[in-house]
């Protein structure tokens, strides 16, 4: 089975994230880049499926040159090879152009299964998997907490408000995973060393048949008009429980007319 796992480099959530004042895009230079947490679960699931069914796992990342760090991490976990879609023309792409460019790259790579995280920690739009399924004309098997492949049949458990749905489809398909699905492995020393020798192919937009006028900031379908740091929350009152903590909390609720 030919599995492509989409991995995004995001700013470390523990650092202060900012938008750039010039073009109002995420300032990716100002902060450390890490693998989007949920994508580690996507990589793990891809590796488990490969271990069970054979095949190959390819990492796909779209992002600036420094996103190679993220690719190495996924390779160190055990992925076989990587494709890095990287081109200055892609800077500032919104969800629509990102999904377009990634769909083009996926067509070039070829796949039986595409696996994504269900959401990135920076933009958090949670739309990419659905958009890819729409563009590629493949089944959308998103928000999976369990994935089972049997020949060309694939079944998932999709998380819902009320519990979960059992969903069935036929490969090729696009899957997104939630963090309940598995426990990602840590790269071993051997894995880290091996990753250095694994092939990473860098594609510019032309290599992936991406139309340059359909991506990047200029082609975006939406714009950030303005932004500002959120005003800090007014410092609250903190009391130590002296046996009356619950009563004091109730007093506060009453002062705010909740009770």
């Amino acid at each position: 089975m030919n599995i492509v796992v989409c991995v995004k480099q995001v700013p470390d959530t523990a650092t202060e994230r900012k938008l750039r004042s010039d073009d109002k895009t995420l300032d990716r230079d100002a902060v450390d880049g890490v693998v989007n947490e949920l994508d580690e679960y996507a990589v793990e699931e891809a590796l488990r499926l490969k271990e069970a069914h054979g095949g190959e796992v390819t990492v796909l990342t779209m992002g600036p040159a420094k996103a190679t760090e993220t690719i190495r991490k996924a390779l160190a976990m055990g992925a076989d090879k990587a494709v890095h879609l990287s081109d200055d023309a892609l800077h500032g792409s919104d969800a629509l152009s990102t999904s377009y460019a990634m769909a083009q790259a996926l067509k070039k790579i070829g796949f039986d299964l595409v696996i994504l995280g269900s959401e990135s920690t920076d933009a958090r739009t949670g739309v990419l998997a659905a958009m890819l399924a729409e563009r590629l004309g493949t089944p959308q098997l998103t928000l999976a907490r369990k994935v089972e492949v049997n020949g060309s049949a694939i079944a998932i458990e999709r998380i819902t408000d009320y519990g979960f749905d059992k969903v069935e489809a036929t490969l090729p398909a696009v899957v997104s995973v939630v963090e309940k699905i598995n426990e990602p492995r840590y790269p071993s020393f051997k894995g880290i060393m091996a990753a250095k020798k694994k092939p990473v192919e860098t594609l510019g937009i032309a290599d992936a048949s991406v139309d340059g006028s359909a991506v990047g900031l200029a082609a975006a379908y939406s714009e950030v008009a303005e932004f500002a740091a959120a005003p800090p929350r007014a410092a609250g009152t903190v009391v130590k429980d002296e046996g009356d903590g619950g009563v004091k909390a109730a007093d506060f609720l009453a002062s705010k007319k909740f009770i």
Binding site: R17, L96, E119, D122, A130, L141, V239, D241
Partner: protein, 317 residues
């Protein structure tokens, strides 16, 4: 004024509160048209939509629409966008609502804004990003604006609309039938308000210690008419079902009041509750980061404080 489509969220034939919020918003920007997708439509449902300002109600109430993952809803909306040329499409910013919005954006070659917490003139959306650290105003510049609005972004206000019903005949295409839902598994929910819609949420974390102890959290929630939430530490430990997880990979909630007991306030938890209007924290560790965003905090043992608070609330009713 032109038409604004609002995709109706409904459960067992009941219109959800977020839809009434979206209709209220749509009315301030144009004429609200509700779009009903899936079974369960009734006169009562129509009356509710009209009561909150729907001038039109498009009804596509076949089972087919909900028997496949997301795609048929996007097809239905794309057809209506083509036929009616609305000024905008609003959906609830639930995980599924956002997926519908994403597919619709691709189909109609339109921009999409996810997770708006407000929407004004010219469909300029307010977004709260980076775990609440930055406020952004953004807008769609191409195609039909598609905006996913977070529940509890506005208060629903009744104002009668005409409620003119129009049936829409759609059969999902073969492509939209690619991912078939073969079974829906309902996990216990009880009589409490739904997590993302609730005005008050009481959440418990690792500090609660066990599944049995969650009864303390539930009692507090019931005393004040709240939904119950949980941190990932609590859902991972199987003390509480996963669909109640609040946070980055759980539900995003934005209630009037959020009470966190035994939760440290990891960034991933805060990402799901930071836009709550008022936050109360109960934690025995004064250094817990969750105190940084508390309007009122009690440093103490939740097993003392929470039952006392519950008792006080019952007393003062």
């Amino acid at each position: 004024m032109s038409e604004i489509l609002v995709l109706v969220e409904h459960v067992d034939g009941e219109v959800k509160k977020v839809t009434l919020e979206l209709l209220t918003l749509a009315r301030t920007l144009g004429e609200a048209s509700a779009v009903w997708a899936g079974p369960g439509y009734s006169e009562a449902a129509k009356a509710k939509l009209a009561e909150y300002g729907a001038d039109k109600v498009y009804v596509a109430d076949s089972d087919e629409i909900v028997n496949y993952v997301v795609a048929p809803k996007a097809e239905l909306l794309a057809k209506l966008v083509g036929d009616k040329s609305p000024a905008a499409v609003l959906v609830a910013a639930t995980t599924e609502g956002k997926e519908v919005a994403g597919r619709l954006a691709v189909k109609t070659d339109s921009g999409v804004i996810t997770d708006a917490v407000g929407l004004g003139e010219g469909f300029v959306a307010d977004q709260s990003i980076f775990g609440g650290g930055v406020n952004v105003r953004s807008r769609v510049t191409k195609g039909t604006p598609i905006v996913a609005v977070r529940p509890n972004s506005t208060a629903p206000v009744a104002a009668a609309g005409a409620g003119a019903e129009e049936k829409v005949e759609v059969a999902p295409s073969d492509a939209a039938r690619a991912a078939k839902i073969v079974e829906r598994v309902k996990e216990e929910k009880g009589a409490r308000p739904e997590l993302t819609e609730a005005a008050i949420v009481v959440s418990g974390g690792r500090g609660v210690g066990s599944a049995e102890n969650f009864a303390i959290i539930e009692k507090l929630a019931d005393s004040i008419g709240a939904a119950v939430g949980a941190s990932r530490a609590a859902t991972d430990a199987k003390w509480y079902p996963h669909q109640f997880q609040v946070g980055q990979t759980g539900k995003t909630v934005s209630p009037q009041l959020y009470i966190a007991a035994g939760i440290s306030g990891a960034i991933q938890h805060r990402a799901g509750m930071q836009t709550s209007k008022t936050i109360i924290v109960i934690n025995k560790d004064p250094e817990a980061p969750i105190f940084e965003i508390a309007d009122f905090g009690v440093v103490g043992d939740l097993f003392q404080v929470v039952p006392q608070l519950t008792e006080e609330i019952e007393k003062r009713k």
